[in-house]
Amino acid sequence: MIRARWIQLGTAVVAVGALELICRLGWVRPTTLVPLSAMVQAAIAAAQDPDTLADFGLTLSTVAIVVAIAAVLGVVGGVALHAVPRWRRAAEPFIATYYALPLFALYPLLVVVLGVGTTPIIATGVLYAMMSVAMATLAGLDRIPAVYRKAARVNRLGRVATVTRILVPACAPDIAGGIALSVSYAFVAVIASEFLLASHGIGHAIADAYETFQTQRMYGLMLGLGVCVVAINLGMARVRAHLTTGAA
């Protein structure tokens, strides 16, 4: 493991060094590729620019809204499908192929229906993020021991109380795992939507920098976004690892 860490570090250092070298030696045009040092400079410059910060804030808040809506819809949908086995059997093939669909192609349509702005972006994000929560909820409900349901009946809980007081808490770790996964989906969908058609957000800022030939700024924004996404993903991975070990 320690050896692997060194190899990782070495690979990263060599890659960054090679990048720096071929850029500084002028082997590639600065409109194509810039060295890491220039990317960092651009990232710092972007962080001091209020407009760019506003774009960042918009993207992050959109992702947060998407995850919140997707979590509610996913849990409700999962519980509903689990409650009616026949629906579930019918829906199963569609659930299994859901993430194979380029849901992205729906974005233009959502723009047509919902108009330009954040609403179609949020809708695309929810489409992407919701299913991972629903699938996790279904898997969690499947694992609940039969004795819990018996306990609910012995304690004379109603249907709603059984769901809210026993079933959902019992599969909370699974649901949390699904929500953590939905964050990545939300990021992908939101940024891709911004990138293609929106006029705000960090995705748009990157596309704009590309189209206006501000290559250095483009790489700086990517670096900033990359650091941000990686940090959030690592955080989520930790939360999930904590939940699964806590549940076991």
Binding site: R86, A90, A96, A100, P102, L109, Y210
Partner: protein, 245 residues
């Protein structure tokens, strides 16, 4: 009996989706969201247009190439990651990083490196398809039974023979699963690539139709892509479950 029931339920879901579509179309207006029948009509005329056929062929070509490269490259990397622990520990985290990154943001880099054209969208398809195949293959190989690994060692297999004659056959069912993901991801990558910067292909046609508010064409293309992706994925899923039983 049970089988017929399943088919019937599946058909019911499709009918429900079509009804919901029709209903939504009534609410927002047929000029904004054309109903299923109008879309089907547009689809028929679209298939007769040479321009559309050229776009379809362009997308199909890029897709097949991206699929092949993504699958082959993913398999090779996956076998290396899963078969040799040091390689996996050292380089697999980079793959995870790539999977988690919103890859659209990397598209400008690909355009800068590959130029505007087919190779850029193929590269973008590969960027989507290859990492999950590599990770799924590596994970499958890690679950190969230890006694099979030990056996291979005692039979003094060369590293190549170890990979091709033990690891790959042992994980064949999982590779089928990886192919399903590759199938979907390569399509997504190529389409998004065409949507952002391309002069031909279905993705480009989609964006061009948005530009001129040609809603029936948008829906018709979305319908084609969904039926292809959903149908292909379902067929692969069925093939995988048949193998398992």
């Amino acid at each position: 009996m049970k089988r017929a029931q399943t088919w019937l339920d599946g058909a019911a879901v499709i009918v429900a989706i079509l009804l919901a579509w029709q209903f939504l179309s009534l609410i927002v207006g047929a000029h904004v969201l054309p109903p299923p029948r109008a879309t089907a009509g547009r689809l028929v005329t679209l298939v007769g247009e040479p321009r559309f056929l050229a776009d379809l062929a362009s997308t199909a070509e890029a897709y097949v190439i991206a699929l092949a490269i993504g699958m082959a490259g993913g398999l090779v990397l996956g076998v290396a990651f899963g078969g040799w622990r040091l390689i996996g520990d050292s380089f697999e985290p980079f793959m995870h990083l790539l999977v988690a990154t919103p890859k659209v943001t990397l598209y400008p880099v690909i355009l800068l490196l590959f130029g505007l054209g087919d190779s850029a969208k193929i590269a973008f398809g590969v960027l989507h398809a290859l990492p999950p195949v590599a990770i799924m293959t590596a994970n499958a190989i890690r679950t190969v039974r230890p006694v099979h690994r030990k056996t291979a060692l005692t039979l003094r297999l060369s590293p190549t023979a170890y990979a091709t004659r033990l690891l790959v056959p042992a994980v064949l069912p999982d590779i089928l699963g990886a192919f399903r993901v590759c199938f979907a991801q390569a399509l997504l990558g190529v389409l998004v690539g065409e949507m952002f910067a391309s002069t031909r292909g279905l993705g480009h046609l989609l964006m061009a139709s948005i530009g001129v508010d040609d809603n029936p064409t948008i829906l018709a293309i979305v319908a084609i892509v969904f039926v292809f992706a959903g149908g292909g994925s379902a067929a692969l899923l069925a093939a995988a479950s048949r193998r398992k039983s």
